[in-house]
Symmetry: C2
Subunit: 316 residues, 2 copies
């Protein structure tokens, strides 16, 4: 059984279906990330699926913290989805009449925020729902609902328009969870099929001391061994004020020699380590890179920009 | 005039009032982070206020990206608020009858999610609203609304209970924005009053090349000068696939000698730099440290834990 953060018809549900493919596996929507973790840890579910990172919003912190905090659950695969919203109406509404008689647009507030152009162009009144799936399920005759393609299918709706989000190219990364003690078995078929492919590993590093130079020491160990970090975030530790745990995504699998060597060096320095997950890089490119809205740091300065420009950029 | 991410009655509005104190300054709620930035850049507003980081959700990525992407707007102060929800009812409902006759709880879905215990204990049906402020404004006789204290005052509601969030201790950090060209003037009174106090600087570093060792090189420059990083996040650059801009929060002001020296070294290495903001550390402790839900990385291993434990922790 695959447990996932529900309800049915969410992007997470779509990720579950993508991951399971044609396999006939029961799928169970649950209400919270915690419940998904508990279901996997207890063995009630073989796998769990939760969103971990969005190209628009960054890390899904509750999912990240749950992985950091769990002794028994680890990520063994990933799914990357394009986040695209379709506009749905009740069956029979779209034919002929277009949007005549449609007065409201409904979705989760995040969904409404991502489809503001469509709402404005059609002069609709935004009506928030508890989830995009709930908006689709409870759709009224005078309403348009925004949701993943899957929602139309689940709730027998008619598609008024596809891809109605304001900005195309948003992607979300989901992780597939299993019990830590089952990880090696879970990886066996993936390793068999992906011996030559790129893997990524998520690692939590809790440095032995804090202060200037800690991150420099840790990152130098990566650099010395040519292990690339594709992402690094810090999460505070409650129990030791001012201390952080670093969550690093690195290029490589935990069993590859340069990664083993890196882990050995960090342990040798006294750091606490935990592998949070490892998986072949999902099809469709390197994670979320290169598909994001503009992030040019306009106003940045270079050495050769001259004193006035540098002073303006650096405010020193 | 102070522009802020509205509507009225949000935590951001509360941050504006905290920051403005007794000063008689017009306050203008706007619909998006982009509109707040535009109002500040154009001079329509003297200051702007947006949330930048939450102890529960991490960075507010749209706010961070707006700062990274803006040539003309910079953060010149910060406000840190405890995020606590009160439960409101229509005037006269609370007296005597308690919660009898109350059937629904309404708030933004995030607010509902943070007050689930109260909802469950009182057997209420959750009803999502577009914002906590809208839930309070449009409150019906049979409903309880969750929102910041300010909402009760703004909408003349009665307080049924205070601090009804599931987990106490959540905090949100807001930044006060102004035009880059006005930053030095904006800092003058702050510097005068805080000569001996700790400042923090937010810096965007776009490294000249990418790959293993980049972060190690950058962090080594910090370590050499004893400049502490209190936070580091990466945001991808759309225009150069696989390249990142690092947003670093460091202890110190841009004009302090060791920080100037650090900036000079990074520029010398060819990195693009931009100061995104600087401010005295807000009263109430070091940013968001030490007030977070548990983040003990349970299941982490140390060198001395023995081969079996280490293998389980590292899955190598």
């Amino acid at each position: 059984m695959i447990a996932y953060l529900g309800p049915e018809g969410t992007f997470t549900h779509e990720a579950v279906r993508r991951w399971a493919g044609d396999a006939d596996v029961a799928q169970q929507p649950l209400a919270t990330v915690r419940e998904v973790h508990d279901a996997v840890a207890s063995g009630a579910a073989d796998r769990g699926v939760v969103a971990i990172e969005s190209s628009v919003e960054g890390y899904v912190v509750p999912s990240l913290d749950a992985l950091v905090g769990s002794p028994d659950v680890v990520a063994v695969d990933e799914v990357v989805l394009d986040i695209s919203f379709d506009a749905f109406v009740r069956p029979g509404r779209a034919a002929g009449s277009g949007t005549a008689g449609l007065r409201e647009a409904t979705a989760h507030p995040h969904g409404l925020a991502q489809c503001t152009r469509f709402v404005t162009e059609h002069g609709l009144l935004p009506v928030p729902a508890s989830s995009n799936a709930a908006a689709c399920r409870d759709l009224a005759d005078h309403q348009v609902a925004f949701g993943p393609r899957l929602c139309g299918e689940l709730y027998g709706l008619e598609t008024l328009a596809t891809g109605v989000e304001d900005f195309a190219g948003a992607r979300t990364r989901f992780v597939v969870l299993c019990r830590r003690d089952d990880a090696t078995a879970a990886w066996a078929p993936l390793r068999a099929g992906h011996e030559t492919e790129a893997w990524r590993t998520m690692l939590a590093v809790t440095p032995v001391v804090t202060g200037p130079g800690v991150l420099a020491r840790v990152t130098a160990e990566f650099a010395e061994r040519g292990v690339n970090m594709s992402s690094l975030v810090e999460r505070p530790l409650k129990v030791r004020e001012g201390q952080y745990v670093f969550v690093v995504t690195l290029d490589g699998a935990p069993w590859e020699p340069q990664v083993r060597d890196l882990f050995t060096a960090l342990l040798g320095a006294g750091d606490s380590l935990k592998v949070l997950g490892a998986f072949p890089v999902a099809p469709g490119g390197p994670g979320l890179d290169g598909v994001l809205p503009d992030h040019v740091p306009t106003g940045s300065v270079l050495r050769q920009d001259g004193d006035a420009a540098v002073a303006r950029g650096l405010l020193w």
